[in-house]
Amino acid sequence: MARILLIEDDHAVRRGLALALDRHGHAVGEAGTGEEGLRALGGTRPDVIVLDLMLPGMDGFEVCRRIRAAGNLPIIMLTARGDDLDVVGGLEAGADDYVVKPVQPRVLDARVRAVLRRGAPTADGAPERHHDLTIDRAALAVTKGARQVSLTPTELRLLLELSRSPGQVLSRQQLLELVWEHDYLGDSRLVDNCVQRLRAKIEDEPSRPVFVQTVRGFGYRFGPV
C-alpha cells in the first residue's frame, strides 16, 4: 500500500511494528539509527517516515529537521504518552503527526493512510486567486506571486480545508478531523503548529497574518482577504 521507512533503535520494537505494518499491506524499510535512516532515504524512496524520537547518536528531532530541510516527506513520530516536550519538540522540528507508545498497529496504519490521503487531489476546477496567493486544488499547487510555495501534504491540506469557505471559522477539533482524521481527543497542538508553519510560508508577515487568521477561543479562519 505504502512504502514506510521505520526508524527505531530497539530491534524488537522495530521488528514487531514492521511485521504488523506489513500485515496491513505496507512495504516497510527498517533503520536502526538516524544516520542509517537518512542514508536509506535516497535508496528506498519511502512515502512516509515513522520516526522514534529516542535514538542513539543523532536524535529523532535532528533527523526530523534534516528530512524537513530536504523536502516535504510526511513524518509520523513515535512518542511516549504525556511527554509533552517530545510532542512539542517533534512538531517544531516539522513532524506531521504523532502516535504514543505502545501504539496499536491499526492506529498507526490509520495515521499512515491519513497522512498519505492529504497529498492526494480531491477536487478539480480552475485555480482560485486570493490576493497574491493562488491555490490550484486539482494540481495541488500553491503559488505566492510568481513563486511556487513548497508545502508538506499536511500544510497543503490545512490550507485547502481553510480556504474552501473563506471567512468561515473552523475549530481546532474540526480541523483535526478534516485534516488529520483524528477522533475527538485529537491534540490541538498539531493544528496550532501546522498553522504556524503554513503562515511562515504564505504570509508576508507571519506575526500579522492575512490569510490564516486566529479567532481567539474558536479556531482559525481563512481571510477574508
Binding site: D10, L19, R81, G82, P102
Partner: protein
Amino acid sequence: MTALGRARALLGGLRPRLILAFVAVGAIAAAAAAWASAASAGSALVEQTQRQFAGEIERTVTATAPGLPYPPDQAALDRLRVTVGGPALVTYGALRSASGPGLAAVSPELRAATGETGRLLVQRVESDGVLRLVVGAPVMITDLNGQRRPSGVEVYAVRDLSAVREQVDALTANASRTSALALPIAVLLALLAARGVLRPVRDLRAAARRLGGGDLGARLRPRGSDELAELAATFNETAASLERSVGELARMEADARRFVADVSHELRTPLTTLTAVAEVLEAEAGRMPSDAREPARLAVEESRKLARLVEDLIEVSRFDAGVATLRPEEVELRAAVRDCLRSRGWLDQVELDAPGELRAVLDRRRLDVVTANLVGNALSHGAPPVVVRLRGDDTWAYLDVVDHGPGLPDDVAAHVFDRFYKADTARGRSNGSGLGMAITAENVKLHGGTIGAGNADGAGAHFAVRLPRWTGEQP
C-alpha cells in the same frame, strides 16, 4: 475592614505604640518639670512678698512704738493706723482704730495667737476668691525693770495678694506653654527613635515576606547584640534550614521524576513490541492449529491488560511525582461527554441529561478519562439505567453519574477511590487495572475540583464531580 478595625490596626502597630509611649513620657516629664518650677517660683514669690510685708510692718511698729502714749487713747490708735498705712487695724483691748477694715478680715485665731505669743504673725486668708496676707504685730513696751512685754496694742495689716497671684498665674501659663512646646519635639524624637528601633523589625518583615514568597535565600544582616539581633539570627537559621529541606525535597522530586521517566521508557519499549505482535497473532489465530489458538488468544488478551495496567501505573506515578500537567483548552462539555460515550459504544446504555451547551476550559483528555472511568464503573458494577447529568454555574461544572444498582455500602464508598480497591473481594481480577477510580480522583484534583461517592435517592451509586469551569483562567 471596618473603620474601627482599621483604626485598631493603625494604633496597634509597633510604630504608633512606640511614638505614643514616647510622646506620653516626654509630655508628662515636660509638664511635671514646668509645673514644679512654676509652683516653686510662685511660692518663693509669695514668701518674699510676705517677708517684705511683715518686715515693713515690724519696722513701722518698732519705730512708732516709743512715741505711743500709754495706755493709748482712740486718737493714738488712729495715728498708728495711719502710720502703718494701707488697710490696717489697730486694737487695744476693746478700742479699735477708726476707718480700718472691720475685724472680720482678722481671724480670731490670729488675734488670740498674736496676743499670746507677743510675736509678729502672718496668716494667709482667702475669701471671696481673693487671697490676702494678714499680719498681726504686737506693740512691745519695755517695763520698769527692763523687760520687754506686749503692750496690748496690736496692729493688724492686710495686704491684697491679687497682683502676686496674677504673677504666679502668668508663671503657670508660661509653664504650660513651655510643655506644649516640648510636645512636637517629643514627637520628633519619638519618630527618630522609633525609626531606629523599628528598622530591624522592618528588615525582618521584608525578609520574612521574601521567604514566604519563595525566595529561600532571604537572610538578615545581624546588627548589634540585642533581642532583635538574636531574632535575626534565629530567622537566618530557620531560613537556612528551610532552604536545605526544600533543596532536599527538590532533589528527591527530581529523582522521582527521572525514575518515572526511566520506568515509562523501559516498560513501554517491550510493550510496544508486545502490542504490535499481539495484533499480528490475533489476526493469524484463525489459521493456527487449534491447540495453538488458545495460548495465542491468552497471550493477546493478557498483553492488552498488561499494557493498560502499565499505562495506568505510569499515570499514577506521574501524579505521585508531581509531573502530571494540565493542558486546558476550551471544551463544550455536552459534546465532549457524548463523544466519550460514543467512542466506547455506550450511547444507547447511558442517558445524557444536559440542558444545553456548557462551555468550559479544562483538559479534554483528562475529562475523557474521568467520564469514561465513572461511566464504565457504573455500567460494570451498577445497573442500568446509567444517567450522566451535566450542570454548570458561573464557576463550576458539575458532572454526576448515577446508576440504578444496589448502591454503595458505606465502607465501600469510603474506599472507592483507593488504588487497587476491589469492592467485591470474591471476584478475582476485574477487567480494569484497579487504578481507574484512583486516576479519576487524581485528574479531578489536578483541575482543582472535587469528587465524591455516595448513593442517590431512589437510585444506586452516585458519583459527583465538580470541576472549575475556567481552569487556569479568569472567568
